[in-house]
Symmetry: C2
Subunit: 427 residues, 2 copies
């Protein structure tokens, strides 16, 4: 697919498929595709502007359905070159959409309940989707080092993707991260640099490095490549609809960290409607947070348009962003679609992890406990309609947050004899 020329904003050396330019979310100012993330006019966030005119609806649907069993089936709708599937990449996506009938019974959902289980990605979190996009942008811009600041999932996703694609990687983390998380990130063999400071210090240092000659040739997936990176979350929306038979769900429950994922899922659904791939009818998007880091939920309930930062204190560490950049957009979307934002306690998160595991055999990360717990709470409060088709996201694997369920253990201990077995009341 050729890049369409967009007057005065095209960058003829960059082939990122249907991506035509970067456009400011606030003021609409357009700039050529490049490794920039903030508007030079108003400092608003830059987003990808597309030209989707290359295909008719049914041609596009046929192309997608004939594509590979990963996110590259949607290459015509992503900022990637048409031949992306032939390049070395860890090829995330096309994860299972599990019809969760047992969970539905427990929660009283009659309209069809589904879990979109992103623990099936290569490094077992949805981060593989966004990193895969950033990697293609890094390739297009001639970067040779892939980098990020991280406190966990992202570090592994960047390390794995860089290794496979032949990039150098250099990941920055707080120096006192838990040893398990360090191992998961270090095993891919890239540079893993501990910063003496907290996550904010790590981020500040990365911004400094981008502006310095030392950072030349470096693509920071969640900083200077952020507009491309963020688009990866759209694929969750595409997959859910295609897996439902090219149908919009009535309700989706999405976890909120920075809020980017939720806004991009909405963007993906809107694109499918505009492209005619799904019927245009209402859907509701619900945001889920942990009580210990619930700035968006608090703002939603208080009717505010702005989000007051919080100091996170929750076991759902992959969602623990106290000052979420996309918080105001999340509030807009929840209100516009008739959804809501809700939060649950850490105890409810653990209960929900166990509930999902014992009903559907899916072992979720704490973020999955947050979405399932919030779904339950929203049903109990009469906010989520149990007679409608509902999709709940699980964005990561329970093996990554074992500590959260560390209290789970043996139900009995017996001697190796039938007598002891009978005494334990297990028959």
């Amino acid at each position: 697919m050729a890049v369409q020329t967009v007057a005065s904003t095209s960058n003829p050396t960059v082939d990122l498929g249907p991506a035509a330019a970067l456009s400011c979310r606030e003021c609409g100012h357009r700039v050529p595709l490049g490794p920039v993330f903030a508007c030079e006019e108003c400092f608003g966030p830059l987003e990808i502007a597309y030209d989707f005119s290359a295909y008719g609806t049914e041609e596009l649907r046929a192309r997608i359905e004939a594509g590979p069993a990963n996110i590259w089936r949607y290459a015509p709708l992503l900022p990637v070159p048409a031949d992306v599937a032939d390049k070395p990449n860890i090829n995330p996506g096309w994860t299972k959409l599990v019809k969760a009938d047992n969970l539905a019974r427990e929660l009283g959902v009659t309209g069809g309940l589904y879990v979109k289980d992103d623990s099936g990605n290569p490094t077992h979190s949805f981060k593989d989707r966004v990193v895969a996009q950033a990697l293609e942008a890094a390739r297009a811009f001639g970067f040779t080092t892939l980098s990020c600041s991280s406190t966990g999932n992202l570090a592994g996703a960047v390390g794995a993707a860089a290794a496979r694609a032949g990039f150098r990687s250099c990941v920055f983390i707080p120096h006192d991260l838990e040893q398990g998380k360090v191992v998961m990130a270090a095993v891919y063999g890239g540079e893993l640099v501990g910063i003496e400071g907290n996550y904010d210090d790590v981020n500040r240092f990365c911004s400094e490095l981008i502006g310095d000659p030392a950072g030349e040739g470096w693509g920071f997936v969640n900083v200077n490549l952020r507009p491309y990176y963020a688009e990866g979350s759209k694929t969750l929306a595409y997959e859910i609809c295609e897996q439902l038979g090219w149908r919009l769900p009535d309700q989706i429950v999405v976890p909120i960290a920075s809020g980017s994922q939720l806004t991009k899922i909405d963007k993906g659904l809107q694109e499918l409607i505009k492209l005619g791939l799904v019927e245009d009818r209402p859907y509701k998007i619900f945001g889920a947070q942990a009580e210990g880091c619930s700035p968006v939920s608090v703002a939603f309930k208080e009717g505010h348009d702005v989000v007051r930062p919080q100091k996170p204190n929750t076991i759902a560490k992959s969602l623990a962003i106290g000052n979420p950049a996309d918080g105001p957009y999340v509030l807009d979307i929840a209100r516009r679609t008739g959804g809501a934002v809700e939060d649950v306690t850490d105890e409810q998160v653990v209960d929900a992890i166990k509930l999902l595991a014992r009903t559907e055999g899916i072992f979720a990360e704490t973020a999955g406990g947050v979405t399932v717990g919030v779904t339950r709470k929203l049903i109990e409060n009469g906010v989520l309609d149990p007679t409608l088709t509902t999709v709940v996201l699980n964005t990561g694997d329970g093996l990554k947050t074992l500590d959260a369920v560390a209290g789970t253990g043996l139900t009995a201990t017996i001697r190796p004899s039938l007598e002891s077995f009978r005494e334990a009341g297990l028959v």
Copy 2:
């Protein structure tokens, strides 16, 4: 697909698709399908005998290719009812076959090197394949409890599958298993019983329970359901060939625990040849063990037909079976196909885990370190031909054996300043 009637050995109440009877691997004695695993005549192991006459080759290929993206695409070749994909199951399989060009360069493989990455299964090991088969047999025989003896991966696979399918589960493990493994098995909410004793004691107890009225209605996936369970490994062979474009690989490197997986992969390849789905041409199967538990490798190198048991002492715990039941069959297959059996030290296992991670972004369990390490050793020794197409199995996820690479860590620690960054020599 209807079960074909086989005189005097059919069980008309059991619909397990093309499975026609159980047949003794040693003496050929046939008995009706049922929850039995040893021949009543000679105590040899029972295997499934099939009737594959229902489909012509091209009809079969078309059915498979139109099937779901999991093992049930091969339902016409498995001991499961034709409508298996509609039943609640965790639907493993159709995992990635990764073209490993970076690893190939490091190892000097020029004929095409692939990693079959079974860490992508629902509970992140190949055990989901075998448990899914056992579950369908348990359903067919009217069992209500799914059980097993386990030291790790299998416990989680049984817990997850039972939860999803609405079975009670009761898993027996040594009482002093590491806490992490206990949590991974316990989270699915079934009974998890610690036995005061070692793994042998656990197994002896399970055999006792099967013969007792207390065990009525219990399906032990790796004991009384073993003939069905074991067939799940055939799907690895099917997927590899289909993913290669319906082509046999020249060489496959398979880990050896009990040896069952390797024998079933050979069985699967033979079936594809007989059914005309792949061209009939030679292939070589190589077995991989850890030096600390290498009874089959030792027997192979010494030219023996029998396997002398060992007391395991290796970090590759998922392969640590000192007295492998299928060892003699493995020796047969390695010799018949022109393959070999080799072993590597624990240090080589760790090196191989890191090698695979830094070249392909795949984080393997210790068993994957064993196969990659053995592949390297076989190439260095001139046993494995680097000019031929080679497939290496990774049967589990590195997150399950984090301890093996616990020494991996930060490459540098710096202050959050460019000066400190430059001093560390990271530019």
